[in-house]
Point group: C2
Chain length 501, copies 2
């Protein structure tokens, strides 16, 4: 009996003859199961309670110690060692097989919704929950931006139907009709979105995306209402009267559409909007618009979902762009991805609010899957994100705080926008509508062809810029964009513009 880790008496080198390979194979493994407590044990229960304050835990079996798990044996946080025949997609069975797999935090990509690692609640608190939007203390992680929005939509539909029912117990007809895609189980509900909006490319998200035809072409969609997004004049503070009129027109249209779709038998379960329409051309609206829209949602019983996949993470000078609205209760759902390194959505935590919808409920037969303790699995998937990304996010947030990066962004952003205003005055035929919050800035170019030429010429001089909308250039520097970088950029941009005047 040879022991690699002398402090782990029960971990042994198993020597056996592989009939397939016809030679002796060596395997580091435990010598059998070993049960110390009931499952889930006290430590798992304690962690489930902790995590339960942050997200739905109905599907969780127990918490795992992936560092101690080896070969066919999964070890839980209470020291129970079990032969694991539940589809171990996470790869702890590979740990001794390759040096790469020593990076255990990255190897073990656990099924977070069922068997999360011990440090998951702590890392969630340190990372995502430390920057939770106002009024929200619960978060659901997901692997990407589209999945975040898809699941947020599902949460709004479930919430809306429970509200219609007056309780959360589906009827037999609900249960049987949904299996064949029919109402009432699969109800005729809709999400109201805005022209120019971008919310992702999976089929639910895509039905609310209206930025470019190429994203949507040839993909079947839903008959859901689409409202106009205000087309404002910039700088916003110079055109307050016209802009207020335009916003009022759009809000009126929103209410009309909600009424129309209710009459059509396809009520609006939720409204989804970006704080700044990014992909659609960096279209801004005023805090007043968003406050009124939030109230319209409330008045008509629709959930309000703010999509911060592009705007979240600090580039607007606040961690979330909706903080510029100055509201205590800005939304029912805030989704994120990209700069957050993981996808997901925050939601409210009052028992009467949205979160109930993602909880388990007693009227349903359990799912028949791995977990026998719960009827959750409604907002769920295999990976539910990736905990290694939470580790990185916690570090990113440390850096942001330590270096006051949001203040830097605000400062650099002001200098950048001032520079764009000056260039716009200098090249009135070429540039217009400079706009931005923090370093999340954009400017319109005379036409599409000129825009593209400017981007290519800037690249030849070593500055990478992107386009958005029909003829805008967008600025999306990293959070370490300082004033000296602004000046470096403005020098190059000025040279390029001179070539196009």
């Amino acid at each position: 009996l040879h022991t690699l880790w002398p402090d782990k008496q029960e971990l042994r080198l198993v020597r056996y003859v592989s009939k397939a390979a016809a030679k002796t194979q060596l395997e580091f493994e435990y010598n059998g199961p070993s049960m110390k407590t009931e499952v889930p044990g006290p430590r798992s229960k304690e962690l489930t309670k902790q995590l339960g304050e942050m997200q739905n835990v109905g599907a969780i079996n127990f918490f795992c110690n992936y560092e101690e798990s080896r070969g066919n044996y999964l070890v839980d946080v209470d020291g129970n060692r079990m032969l694991d025949y539940t589809d171990p997609l996470y790869s702890y069975w590979l740990v001794h097989r390759s040096p790469l797999f020593l990076l255990s935090a990255f190897v073990n990509r656990p099924a977070l919704g069922i068997m999360p690692p011990e440090n998951f609640p702590e890392k969630l608190a340190e990372s995502l929950l430390s920057v939770a939007p106002s009024g929200m203390s619960r978060v659901q992680t997901m692997a990407c931006g589209s999945c975040s929005n898809e699941n947020a939509y599902k949460a709004m539909f479930i919430w809306y139907r429970n509200k219609e029912r007056g309780h959360n117990i589906p009827s037999d007809e609900d249960m049987s009709s949904c299996m064949i895609n029919q109402s009432p189980g699969c109800p005729d509900l809709s999400i109201l979105s805005f022209m120019g909006g971008f919310h992702g490319r999976t089929m639910g998200c895509l039905a609310t995306t209206h930025s470019k035809a190429i994203h949507k072409l040839d993909v079947p969609s839903f008959d859901w209402p689409i409202a106009p997004f205000p087309k404002l004049k910039y700088p916003l503070e110079e055109f307050t009267r016209e802009n207020a009129q335009e916003e009022a027109r759009c809000l009126e249209e929103v209410e009309d559409l909600i009424v129309q779709w209710r009459q059509k038998g396809r009520p609006v379960a939720g409204i989804v909007i970006e704080p700044i329409q990014a992909e659609g051309g960096d279209n801004h609206a005023t805090p007043d618009f968003f406050k009124k829209l939030r109230n319209i949602a409330r008045k008509h019983g629709s959930a309000f979902h703010v999509d911060e996949v592009q705007t979240g993470g600090g580039t607007t000078g606040k961690f979330w762009a909706h903080e510029h609205w100055g509201m205590d209760d800005p939304a029912d759902i805030v989704s994120f991805s990209k700069k957050m390194l993981t996808g997901g959505f925050y939601h409210k935590d009052e028992p009467t609010s949205l979160w109930l919808c993602v909880s388990s409920f007693p009227g349903l037969p359990h799912c028949g899957c791995v977990c026998l303790l719960s009827q959750a699995y409604r907002i769920f998937n295999t990976w539910m994100g990736d905990p290694s990304k939470n580790l990185f996010l916690a570090e990113v947030l440390n850096v942001i705080r330590r270096e006051n990066l949001l203040e830097e962004v605000t400062r650099s952003g002001k200098t950048l926008l001032q520079g764009l205003y000056q260039l716009q005055d200098q090249y009135p035929n070429l540039l217009s509508s400079a706009r931005g919050q923090g370093t999340f800035c954009a400017i319109d170019i005379r036409d599409d062809a000129t825009r593209n030429s400017i981007i290519l010429k800037a690249r030849d001089k070593g500055v990478l810029l992107g386009g958005c909308g029909d003829r805008s250039i967008r600025f999306r520097p990293a959070l370490v964009f300082k004033e000296h970088h602004v000046h470096m950029f403005l020098n190059v941009f000025s040279d390029v513009l001179a070539e196009h005047n």
Copy 2:
């Protein structure tokens, strides 16, 4: 001037006063842009060509050297150093800020579709393409199983519409109508799926999932055809005549549905099926069924999509479960995730086949986004997977080959199934329908309550099992499940069964 990396003359410590923090800050950065070649340079072009043989590269700008990128500067594989204002969500700007970020391969989560890292084509060839299904040499990575299937469906819709058009240039009406979710731009097309199937939880996938009501309840869906999956008797070889009749009945229904939905004006663009219905209860069908289904798809001009998200990766004793069918041309699309550590789908590479649909086409205005060189972006998202997962997958595949794990799985699986047959003979009131391929095995239990009790009792003895379907237990061991583990399991299982007899 202080240099941390003495061999990088141009990388310097920038010392400046942060006005926000009111103190001196230090920053390791380059001292300005530096252009060596045109962009994309020769190395980027070469890599784009290499990658172009594996997947659509229409949206790629250039390949990056993330190891050399620092602060605001992105360095490409030709040594061009550019100020990056294109939304650097990958975090190379953090590299010197925390020891954690030295794990550069894991920090830099690049936007793979636009600016992949240099080793991406090589790692893709070593990992995913080294196990490509028969007839397929192209692969598109995605972050999760649902995104993989969603994008596979989109590819089938786009392909079908191009086939209907006879070319791939959309009309003006296509382009304008799709922006508001209307046909012909968003066409009335459908995907045919099977009762009991599970293909994911985003809204497109969910319309083809019919395993459990809890997944689907309260979420709007599409009017798409749903065919019966054969309900066979096990062991399959003992009931060949009855099973052949049942399969013929289901195939006839498939053809009827295809005709009906065509008449409804909602033609079947694709058929999606699992080689073994996993979530739905480990339902098997014979190779003959799948061969005939493939032919029906061909006859009616529908694409054939085999979903191997659960069955792929080796547990059936072959790397892909569809290899058991013995076909040279098993499918148009094979999707994967879970054990593959990354999601994605393979597709065929003949120019007349499916892949054309995911290519760029000349009739469209470019997307206006970061990339000016292409009109791709139809099958696309920000991350398109995660290259660190490809590194791990390459290692997993090395281990599988080195240790002949597929042969081991076949051997252990046979022993397991024999053991289950014996227990089934011993406990005929309790057990029935033992079935499996490799170690991907299942057995039916008398009823749901007994099933759940058995799973809990086995867990108390240190064996983790999962359920599937109404009253099945499924076995999903890791690939290192050896014959001695089978015996250990059968001993525990036998004890538990004795308690329930």
